[in-house]
Symmetry: C2
Subunit: 219 residues, 2 copies
């Protein structure tokens, strides 16, 4: 399906860039680690960066149960969440037609708290698997106290939309004679050389040894 | 100064990571192109990715005067804006102490519209200079009609705070004996090979020829 799930996820500005397919949404989410979260409280609107991960058709975040933010979000606050990847600068022949290539998803809804211990542990394990596959079996698992101090929140992608721009510059016909370079200056997020802790005497496992040179941000 | 400019920019969660110095804020802003904008309207909270640039102690955005978003923002809506760079995954010896290295800024306030034509042109030129230094003299400048169709908005950094985490894993003393790799898996945003438009017959200017291999995201 490529129809907006709600009025507020129907993209009105350059609607031909709108995408509502699950696979595209999931790909954009899986290509990142940080989302931005918008919500309202008695002090106004807030925009907060948060680590996230995806399981099936839901986005998860976690935080301390001492955090005002987590308490607010777990109490049924309406939120909007954006995940964005910048892929390149698009240089056109006129100043006006300059653009950027990007992939973004915006989600609306309310978080629900993952309360049941087994589900909470499975959600945190999935997060660790995203960060470093298999590592959950190597580290010390969360103690009962640590798990109790952690809130895990889940929001479904029921009300979500993606917007994607790719490709080269789109110039007006009347500007095509202008002798200036036109095209895309791309970005690529690379995985750089791992930095072991000074006190680390353990050989690098596969997911560390293979980290460098890998590419992130591709859907 | 390293004191929060307001109650809502005082960082309560891990306050030792808070930074309020101008140079740090400016560096984080200058290292990016996309901000996330939170605001409230009759449909709830929204989180929208937007291109931005900085001039002196203010952040600028631009958009179409036909856009509902730009109209709303120019009418004095309270906003919160976040700019975030993810620098690495921090792998600790316990699941609980895993973290991420990042640099982020959150700004609160209201946009004002840059109305005066010369100021508006100067602001847009500064944006072009950020994208591609010198290019403003090569492309077709905005026509009177194009400039009229463009809204430029400005918000000062009066109410802003940065939060920065860097360095290795911080483990509990009791976990130091666990034989698992600990350290940072870093990310690096690289400038990749330029992609000229198929219809581009012009040699690459210096800012295109030198693009590949350059590093973004460093403050």
């Amino acid at each position: 399906m490529n129809a907006a799930p709600s009025s507020r996820t129907r993209i009105r500005r350059i609607p031909e860039l709108a995408v509502y397919e699950r696979e595209v949404l999931h790909g954009i989410l899986d290509a990142g680690y940080l989302c931005h979260l918008a919500f309202q409280d008695e002090n106004g609107s807030h925009c907060i960066p948060m680590a996230y991960w995806r399981i099936n058709d839901a986005l998860y975040i976690h935080g301390s149960n001492g955090s005002r933010l987590m308490k607010h979000l777990s109490s049924g606050a309406e939120v909007s969440i954006a995940i964005s990847h910048l892929d390149g600068l698009v240089l056109a022949r006129s100043a006006f037609n300059h653009s950027m290539n990007y992939r973004s998803v915006v989600i609306y809804g309310k978080f629900v708290t993952v309360i049941e211990a087994e589900q909470k542990m499975a959600a945190l394990d999935a997060f660790m698997d995203k960060l470093a596959p298999g590592r959950k079996n190597e580290v010390r698992s969360g103690s009962k106290q640590e798990l109790g101090a952690t809130i895990v929140l889940k929001i479904t992608l029921d009300e979500a939309a993606a917007k994607v721009r790719s490709g080269g510059a789109e110039d007006d016909t009347k500007d095509m004679h202008i002798e200036v370079w036109a095209g895309v200056l791309p970005f690529q997020t690379l995985q750089a050389k791992p930095v072991p802790n000074e006190d680390c005497k353990v050989d690098a496992p596969l997911y560390v040894a293979c980290w460098q040179g890998g590419k992130q941000g591709q859907s």
